[in-house]
């Protein structure tokens, strides 16, 4: 059963990567490349692959959250009970929203509440700071959308400023991403991070509008900060991912991928579900699906053994 769960984790992570790259990015940027109209069939096939990946990811996500919910029932550990409650509540309310039994605003507010519950349950001090910052941004962005439906002094233009707040916290979450690692970033990872910063800073200075539009469509923020801010965040995130892959910290890799693909705010129940799974995973509450391997199985900074990239149950 344990290996089945690991397969599920792999399938979820990979399908999310394909969905993000093919459906949300490639189909929107290939038009930049002159002459791609000659390869229309290829582009359509890529888009179709991205769509199927989306459905695979959505299914895996539902199963993974169900497993976390089940794990919450079977344990006296209060943190895991809270995690199970959060994932169970989210699944119920998302399904009810899809069936139009409850209003979308209810789904939105409850989604935000489950994210906060999961983050509190999985809080691990300094290591959870990036997730906490991301969630502050997410709640701010979600409130900027949901809050406009309330006839209170919050409604109107003032609440829109929350998007501005969400961007700052999103960038801060990216910048502090190395805190997620169990071990410090490798030297190669730091070089990769610097390289990523330079590449993004370069592309931002030459075509900042592209970055804005991809940020708005993929992550849900308008990209109001200077391009260099995003470049530094992407650099730190790259260094973290690189180091996590090199040292076999699969849970961190999967968590970051799910978090990035989920985006900030409430965009869809699929994306909110990804963020919830990421928060649970990075908080060590991924259940059997994204279980963090024991310290002995993760290579120490000197690097000797290579543990399973995505958890061992």
């Amino acid at each position: 059963m344990g290996r089945d769960h690991r397969t599920l984790a792999w399938l979820l992570t990979l399908s999310v990567v394909f969905e993000l790259l093919l459906l949300r990015t490639a189909t929107r940027t290939l038009i930049h490349i002159p002459g791609t109209d000659r390869f229309e069939t290829v582009v359509r096939l890529l888009a179709e692959g991205g769509r199927v990946s989306y459905y695979v990811a959505a299914l895996c996500l539902v199963i993974a959250l169900l497993l976390v919910g089940r794990a919450g029932i079977r344990t006296p550990d209060r943190r895991r009970v809270a995690a199970g409650l959060a994932s169970g509540t989210f699944l119920v309310v998302a399904a009810a929203g899809r069936l139009e039994v409850v209003a979308w605003t209810t789904v939105g507010w409850v989604s935000l509440a489950t994210l906060v519950t999961a983050a509190v349950a999985g809080w691990r001090g300094l290591r959870s700071v990036p997730v906490g910052l991301f969630l502050v941004g997410s709640v701010a962005a979600g409130t900027s959308v949901l809050g406009q439906t309330i006839s209170t002094p919050l409604a109107g233009g003032r609440i829109e400023a929350l998007i501005w707040v969400s961007e700052i916290f999103l960038v801060l979450a990216g910048v502090t991403a190395p805190l997620l690692l169990r071990y410090p970033p490798t030297r190669a990872a730091l070089y990769a991070g610097v390289a990523a910063t330079l590449v993004v800073a370069g592309s931002a200075s030459s075509s900042s509008s592209t970055m804005s539009i991809l940020l708005l469509w993929n992550v849900g923020v308008p990209g109001w900060l200077p391009g260099l801010a995003y470049a530094i965040a992407v650099g730190a995130l790259t260094a973290t991912l690189w180091s996590a892959v090199a040292r076999g910290e699969g849970v961190v890799v999967a968590g970051i991928i799910l978090l990035v693909a989920g985006g900030v705010g409430t965009i869809s129940t699929y994306q909110t579900g990804l963020v919830l799974m990421a928060v649970l995973t990075l908080g060590g509450l991924g259940g059997d699906v994204f279980a963090e391997p024991p310290a002995a199985e993760v290579p120490n900074p000197a690097g000797v053994t290579v543990a399973s990239p995505v958890g061992v149950s």
Binding site: R28, A58, P130, G157, L179, P301
Partner: protein
């Protein structure tokens, strides 16, 4: 062996169910994006966006960015716009509002451009979200395009201008009119064009039917109201109903910033829902909606430097904390 089989079985089952969902277009998720309510009103709302009946409705604000997908790219001078929508006697009214410090309603020279706004719907309500840039071959879009110059009377001859030769009223001398360019009509100019498209390069003007629109200046803003009956009179135009939300996106052009064609500010797709409820109202205090701050323009010089220093500091601190934690763990393991 059994384990391997079990794992592959899991993958195959999940992929097969996913393909089934794809084929039947059964989406297990729901959108949680910004939603615009088209509220029911009991009196005709009219086309004057500055009227208290419009301004008292709580608006929905949307961020906008430059269009950077299809050439000519650029724009982005308008960073936020507000949307209000109502319906009255089976007619949909949508009001767009945005800050534009200059009123540009003349396009009498090749280097002058007019302020404009557009609303984009999928041609068929309830279909999958079309590609935001003019739709795609299998998912057309319907665009309502308002231009400030088209609601002005035709410009006459300047008092200090002169004419050498008055050309005969022949198509040879009026090629745009001969090509049936709807903007070259010399009578019956209308402020709104009804357009359909199924991908880049396919934008086509179609009969306006009962689609009308009008823009007014309110302080330093444009308020533009579009309206059309729920049921379209032509093809590739959606029928509105309360059954399900319809996707909608917006674009605005600032002529003073040389914005035209693809150079514009665009929102992403959001959803509009026709609802029988009354609109949420408030005291008319529109000035609070448009604070003086401009997000990207406001952060310049020292602000950018401080932001970058803080972010670099945070990154370094994160790496340092990570190193320190590893050293501590190594020490405790050693002891």
């Amino acid at each position: 062996m059994n384990r391997t089989l079990s794992r592959w079985a899991l993958v195959v089952v999940v992929v097969m169910v996913a393909v089934l969902f794809r084929v039947t277009d059964t989406n297990p998720a729901m959108a949680q994006t910004q939603r615009i309510g088209a509220w029911q009103v009991t009196t005709e709302p009219g086309l004057d966006g500055s009227a208290p009946e419009w301004q008292s409705i709580v608006p929905v604000f949307l961020p906008a960015t430059a269009q950077q997908v299809a050439p000519p790219m650029g724009g982005g001078s308008v960073e936020r716009l507000s949307v209000r929508a109502v319906h009255w006697e089976d007619r949909l009214y949508v009001m767009l509002e945005w800050v534009d410090l200059t009123e540009d309603n003349l396009s009498d020279r090749t280097e002058t451009f007019t302020d404009a706004a557009a609303i984009q719907f999928p041609a068929v309500a309830g279909s999958a979200v079309p590609y935001i840039c003019m739709g795609q071959a299998d998912q057309a879009v319907n665009i309502w395009h308002w231009r400030s110059d088209q609601q002005q009377p035709l410009p006459g001859l300047s008092p200090d201008g002169y004419v050498d030769l008055d050309p005969p009223d022949d198509d040879l001398y009026f090629p745009a009119r001969a090509a049936q360019n709807p903007l070259s009509r010399d009578v019956g100019r209308v402020a709104v064009q009804n357009l359909v498209a199924g991908g880049f390069g396919t934008l086509t003007a179609t009969d306006n039917g009962s689609l009308v629109g009008h823009g007014v200046r309110v302080d330093n803003r444009w308020s533009v109201v579009f309206t059309r009956p729920f049921v379209a009179e032509g093809s590739l135009q959606p029928t509105f109903s309360g059954d399900e939300p319809i996707d909608v996106s917006f674009a605005v052009w600032d002529g003073n910033k040389q914005e035209r064609n693809g150079i514009k500010s665009v929102s992403s797709f959001t959803q509009l829902t026709v609802t029988p409820s009354d609109p949420p109202r408030r005291a008319v205090a529109a000035s609070g909606d448009w604070p003086a701050y401009t997000p990207s323009g406001g952060l310049t010089g020292a602000g950018i430097i401080v932001t970058i220093v803080v972010l670099v500091g945070a990154a370094v601190a994160a790496v340092w904390a990570s190193l320190r934690r590893a050293l501590k763990e190594a020490e405790s393991d050693g002891s």
